[in-house]
């Protein structure tokens, strides 16, 4: 059974939901308070959704300075799987652990709605159990989820297969319909949609299961760095 650390900043609010997704798939979730500086014994890290430190500045701009982020960075550097969901994605981008930036949605309103995602790359911890072109219904829930990056970064993302998920019907103006990206090694992934909210047909969709299963390594072997 894997031990998954769910990082909790003051202002996080999806930590219970992320933990529920982990335990539902038979693994163990452990809350990691943002002041912790070690991740000893942790097999994977999830940065959940919410409004870390209130996000009154720019989403994730303060959280990147929380003591735990040093530990997350070191964990990732050794190949440890790290997943940022929504606000967690914003934190990873602010921390420089993922390329690009997230700006306000095209319509300048918060959006909570189901979206259809298309798997564009399977070389990441989040998508390795899915198939290219597979469509997954997963909800979004954000104000600042419009992914952007410069041309050079975009070329690189495409070349390396780092764009892992795209929106079928772009809800927020993201460049190239990008919903989720990975780092070059594939062990750090961020996405704006909430796979933990799509784990049960009672709640509308169980399509998020394949993503979290991949991340937890339930169905496939442990993730090996691409290089």
């Amino acid at each position: 059974m894997a031990r998954i650390g769910v990082v909790v900043f003051p202002g996080s609010n999806c930590e219970y939901d992320a933990a529920a997704g982990v335990t539902r798939l038979g693994d163990q979730a452990e809350f990691v308070w943002h002041t912790r500086t070690d991740l000893d014994g942790i097999d994977g890290v999830i940065l959940p959704g919410g409004f870390a430190h209130g996000d009154y500045l720019r989403p994730g701009a303060l959280a990147r300075f929380s003591p735990v982020m040093g530990a997350v960075e070191r964990f990732a550097a050794t190949g440890g799987p790290v997943l940022g969901i929504c606000n967690g994605f914003q934190v990873l981008v602010e921390a420089g652990m993922l390329p690009g930036a997230l700006q306000k949605n095209r319509g300048l309103t918060f959006l909570c709605q189901p979206t259809t995602l298309v798997v564009s790359s399977t070389s990441s911890v989040l998508t390795r159990g899915a198939t290219i072109g597979q469509e997954l219904v997963v909800p979004i829930n954000h104000f600042s989820g419009s992914y952007t990056c410069d041309d050079e970064t975009h070329d690189e993302l495409v070349r390396n297969g780092q764009i892992v998920l795209r929106y079928k019907d772009n809800p927020n103006g993201s460049r190239d319909d990008i919903a989720g990206v990975a780092n070059n090694s594939g062990n750090v992934v961020g996405l704006m949609p909430h796979p933990e909210r799509a784990m049960s047909t009672l709640l509308g969709s169980a399509d998020g299961m394949v993503l979290l299963e991949s991340f937890l390594g339930v169905k496939v072997a442990p993730f090996v760095l691409a290089h």
Binding site: N13, C14, Y16, F51, T109, S200, L203, G204
Partner: protein, 757 residues
């Protein structure tokens, strides 16, 4: 030369109220004491105009754990879980500053719920504005919705539904009501009571500033003067609006729930309207103990605040906890973790003994513990002993003429197709801005008959149960007949719960009315309370909490009476989603429930959306008939509950026939499924748009079996037609393509909001 108004009048107190204060104290009050009475005896805090009427509502049932008068009502939902629910208004703040007004409305209602030890799990927002052709209304809608979205999403409580009503009567006085529901392990229930002489009163959360001073008296308990929009909503009142900080509130929720989990508090109370004076006097009065407050201990946001400002400020995101001195270190440590300020500001003291030898819980405001006493008043006199008014009542003189002018007699003119399209509105533009899914409980979210949630949350024991919530109102009915209108509103709400399989367990209400000094308004209020009482008794429902919002007037014009009800229902087993509106190709569509209204007219149009859009605001409201309603509602709830419990069924879709009538209910099902329907000729044109509760559109793939079950239950069923094709057709009256119906419904709200850019 005129002399300045006496202080008590400036504070909103009448001359006779000043006399009552002199009697209570046996002396002349000082100016600080007057200020305390000014806020606590305001209409908003004291319910002085409505209290004698509210006593007529039924409040008891075996499952009620906490009834009206506490911060929130609480019921036993089974499986060791209690559910707390509360509804409030934030009308006047939202009229002046829509974003902050609506945001702080959310913040306030959350504190009412977690004060009871419950984790807030859902928020709903019934909203009422003027017509969107007016630019100011569009500004208000955008501000209010983004305020709810900005605060609710950030604080981490899903907003799962509400209502959206547009009517000119709200043009200068919009209504922003907010309901919150939370859950707790039953044994953790706490009440806002101070006890234990020597215990400490600890102020948690934000520092205290000058925002919101007099909010309850200046804003919530007076109308707006000017006749027209912006001018009447004067800037002078803006400083009485509070400013919200959802991040502070989020940490406050987590810290307070942790304090309760660890058993570190004796009692806890939120600071809402009337701030510290309200929280300290209410906890002391409930506990029968005295309270000394050190006004110099309270952390301030700005220098130079006077004691009356500190005591009455409505700065947001503050709680008052009563703790034993031994627990102080643990409380302080926990608050440090959550970055929450915790300050000892008061002490529980023994009650005083008055001249007649009776024990009296005194609230003393002092400069330093043991220092100079700045104010000393009986806590109960502030909290519970405001004068009660039996204000004069009068049925509006013109009401008979209005009722007699009944649109049910009108010859149909124009195109029913156009009439139908005009009535279609999809509120998705609003609810897409709300996080409706947090905590993984939302089985049915916003935009349907009722919201349905799993009864689950952090720290709760496991349960397979579900809870359902619906908010409803019908000011059009209530303007014509507040008694029947309110009774039917309750029925409508119970019917909405049935569509998701839930059985209603409790009612909360938010009574939005005009100026109680107008006898017609008091008559409307009294009638509405009687109607609510009649419906609740008839349907076996307790009222477990409520809020009265008066002075909803502008320029001398009162709003239509707008009693909003919030219904809480429980579903025994929730393992599969209810059928919803999504019918399938080939299904037979049936009307379940009595086809004809209990009324002089078979299909009454008085107070309908159809008639109102034509400027026809008169007519009769159908009678409330508990027995017939209950039979249909129980049957539908049972059919849906069986599906939610995992049993197979021939029922594929369910929709309550509500605002807009049968034609709108059918069109909404066409729109969401993108499947047409072929409906038989109805009895009359009026049947398309008549409104009266207790009717449901259902779809079945085995109509004979369905009719047989309904017959056993004694509930009438009329087959209406068949699902299929790309056209919505009703006899010879309605013929629209699926795309016309869906397109118009989807675009209606956004087009209106974008009307003049």
């Amino acid at each position: 030369m005129s002399s300045p108004a006496p202080l008590h009048r400036a504070l909103g107190l009448t001359d006779s109220e000043l006399e009552s204060i002199r009697e209570v104290l046996g002396r002349e009050p000082n100016s600080l004491e007057l200020a305390l009475y000014g806020v606590m005896w305001s209409e908003h805090c004291s319910y002085k105009s409505s209290r004698i009427h509210l006593g007529r509502l039924p409040t008891e049932a075996p499952h009620v754990l906490v009834g009206p008068g506490e911060n929130a009502g609480v019921i036993d939902a089974g499986d060791g879980i209690a559910v707390a629910i509360r509804i409030e208004s934030h009308n006047h703040p939202s009229a002046i500053e829509p974003y902050q007004g609506a945001a702080t409305g959310v913040g306030g209602i959350l504190r009412d719920v977690f004060t009871m030890g419950a984790r807030p799990l859902a928020v709903m927002d019934p909203l009422f504005f003027g017509e969107l052709s007016d630019a100011r209304q569009r500004w208000l809608v955008e501000g209010v919705v983004s305020g709810i979205s900005g605060y609710g999403n950030s604080v981490g409580v899903p907003t799962i539904g509400g209502e959206l009503t547009f009517d000119d009567c709200y043009a200068s006085n919009p209504l922003v009501n907010v309901l919150c529901c939370g859950a707790l392990p039953t044994q953790r229930l706490v009440l806002g009571v101070a006890s234990g002489v020597g215990n400490l009163a600890v102020l948690l959360g934000s520092s205290t500033g000058r925002d919101g001073i007099g909010g309850v008296s200046v804003l919530a308990s007076a109308g707006f003067d000017g006749a027209d929009g912006a001018e009447s909503l004067d800037d002078a009142k803006r400083p009485s609006v509070q400013v919200g900080d959802p991040y502070e509130e989020k940490r406050l929720i987590e810290a307070c729930l942790a304090l309760l989990d660890d058993g570190l508090v004796v009692g806890i109370q939120d600071l809402g309207g009337a701030g510290i004076v309200c929280a300290t006097s209410e906890t002391a009065a409930r506990g029968g103990v005295g309270m000394d407050v050190d006004v110099t201990a309270i952390p301030l946001r700005e220098a130079g605040m006077a004691p009356f400002e500190i005591m009455t400020s409505e700065s947001q995101e503050r709680m008052l906890a009563i703790i034993t001195p031994e627990n102080w270190d643990a409380v302080a440590a926990l608050c440090t973790k959550w970055e929450i300020r915790a300050t000892v500001v008061g002490r529980v003291v023994a009650p005083s003994i008055d001249a007649n030898g009776r024990s009296v819980a005194m609230l003393r405001v002092r400069r330093g513990f043991g220092g100079e006493v700045l104010a000393e008043v009986p806590a109960g006199s502030l909290a519970d002993e405001a004068p009660l008014y039996n204000r004069p009542m009068a049925r509006p003189a013109d009401l008979d003429a209005i009722v007699a002018d009944d649109p049910s007699d009108d010859e149909p003119v124009g195109s029913p197709n156009d009439d139908l399209l005009e009535l279609l509105v999809d509120p998705a533009w609003v609810y897409r801005q709300y996080d409706s899914q947090l905590f993984l409980n939302t089985v049915v979210g916003p935009g349907r008959d009722a919201a349905l949630l799993r009864l689950a949350g952090p720290g709760l024991p496991y349960s397979e149960r579900g809870i359902a919530l619906s908010t409803d109102s019908n000011p059009r009915w209530c303007a014509l007949d507040p008694r029947a209108g309110t009774a039917l509103t309750v029925a409508e709400s119970v019917a909405n719960l049935a569509c998701v399989g839930a059985t209603a367990k409790a009612v909360v209400n938010c009574l939005n009315f005009g100026n109680p000094e107008h006898p017609e308004v008091m008559w409307q209020l009294s009638e509405a309370i009687d109607g609510m009482s009649e419906a609740c008794v008839g349907l076996g429902l307790p009222v477990i909490g409520g809020n009265v919002s008066l002075y909803n007037e502008s320029g001398g014009h009162d709003i239509d009476p707008t009693p909003v009800v919030g219904l809480l229902g429980v579903l025994e087993s929730l393992v599969a989603p209810p059928p919803g509106w999504e019918w399938r190709m080939g299904d037979v569509v049936v009307l379940v429930g009595t086809r004809h209204a209990n009324s002089h007219y078979r299909f009454p149009l008085g107070g309908t959306r159809w008639a109102t859009r034509r400027g026809r605001r008169g007519g009769h409201v159908p009678h409330f008939d508990a027995e017939t309603l209950a039979a249909a509602i129980d049957f539908v709830a049972g059919e849906v509950a069986s599906i939610c419990g995992g049993k197979s069924s021939d029922v594929t879709a369910v929709h309550d026939v509500g605002g807009g009538g049968l034609a709108v209910a059918l069109a909404e099902m066409v729109a969401v499924t993108a499947l047409g329907v072929e409906i038989v000729e109805l009895e009359s044109h009026a049947e398309l748009f008549a409104e009266f509760p207790g009717r449901f559109v259902m779809a079945t793939n085995d109509v004979e079996a369905f009719i047989a079950r309904a017959a056993v239950a004694g509930v009438p069923v009329v087959p209406l037609g068949t699902v299929g094709g790309r056209t919505m057709r009703i006899g010879s009256t309605i013929e629209l393509t699926v795309d016309e119906v869906a397109g118009r419904r989807r675009g209606a709200l956004e087009e209106s909001l974008a009307a003049v850019l």
